[in-house]
Symmetry: C2
Subunit: 215 residues, 2 copies
């Protein structure tokens, strides 16, 4: 328990920092950050409670680090979606929807813990954690709105309208991710949820276009 393996001092420190983050994420799978104790985490890692303070000031600080880490996963997903299919010149709206939902489903499958952490602490975490997550999601909405502006081709859209649409899409995607997490391990249910998400996204996009064009 005193021997954490080879490596320089900074390497060893980084290694137990990682172990703490992983342990906390694992314990958060069936609880919440606010119901997580320093001693639980320490025991899970295999260090004495006091050693925790060498890495984080508090559970809340740990939570903020987990937010950063989780959104690295989420941004990787967005990058995957955005990269799109380069085979066709201008992809159809339906194909974009299909690709996006597929990518979402795949990424939630891997990194399940990260998405579950965001979904839970978004509503129940310490105030600073909630605020951090809220802010990150707002950034995602902004990015999506610029993507949508580039995609739709119509420049009759207000930035405000784009923001509202993005908000709706992100909300639907977050909800889909939550459903996928609940349905984890039941492939049939997952497939159904993905299918529903595709339908919903098409409804929203088509609706937004038609609604805009007539106002």
């Amino acid at each position: 328990m005193v021997d954490v393996g080879p490596g320089s001092r900074v390497e060893r420190k980084e290694r137990t920092r990682r172990a703490i983050l992983d342990a906390a994420l694992r314990l958060c799978e069936d609880s919440s950050l606010v119901a997580l104790s320093l001693r639980q985490v320490a025991k899970e890692v295999g260090i004495v409670p006091t050693a925790f303070y060498r890495h984080f000031d508090s559970i809340e600080a740990l939570g903020l680090a987990l937010v950063d880490e989780s959104f690295v996963s989420l941004r990787a997903m967005l990058r995957d979606i955005r990269r799109g299919d380069p085979s066709t010149g201008t992809p159809s709206l339906a194909s974009i929807v299909d690709r996006s939902v597929d990518t979402l489903q795949e990424h939630v499958g891997q990194h399940r813990a990260h998405f579950q952490f965001i979904a839970r602490e978004r509503a129940a975490g310490p105030p600073s954690v909630r605020e951090a997550i809220r802010h990150e999601i707002e950034l995602c909405e902004r990015e999506l709105s610029t993507d949508l502006a580039r995609l739709s081709g119509t420049d009759a859209w207000t930035t405000e309208d784009l923001r509202v649409l993005s908000n709706l899409v992100v909300t639907a995607m977050v909800a889909t991710a939550e459903q996928l997490i609940v349905a984890a391990g039941r492939p049939g249910a997952e497939k159904q949820i993905a299918e529903n998400a595709r339908t919903q996204l098409r409804m929203v996009l088509v609706g937004a276009l038609n609604w805009r064009s007539r106002s």
Copy 2:
């Protein structure tokens, strides 16, 4: 502290039961059920910890009671929305949206604690509480889908399609309620959120109609 006022024995019992529910709801406003202790609740109520057991087996059981109570509020809101405006024969789609969002905003304003409780414990509560909330929301979706069937007039819709649409609408409304709670006390922000919700609902409904008619 021993004198809880006048009334028969069952009245007095019901009164402290109410006090427990209210105290728990109050404490849940800036924490979560899973981070709520029996002793905290007892102290807030003004009874000794042991007396808690005369009313609930555990915090979890208390949570389930709070779910029931919260959804009474939510169902009252749905009833208000459904009652609609009887002045015009067949209300326009836009007026339905406006009325619905207005009613949502009003009900979230009152009963803020109930909506906040649902929003938080939906993601972070004990498994049984999460499941109970998930089930209640699913019932709401079913009710909405029958309403939509009666409303649209078109019977080209599959029940499955209606369910998917209802799921999207409910998701958007839940997200709106969450935003309203965060923005509580800032009338400007609340107004903006309600306006966004109206736009989003119109997008979804118009989109759903147009999408269906071409498939």
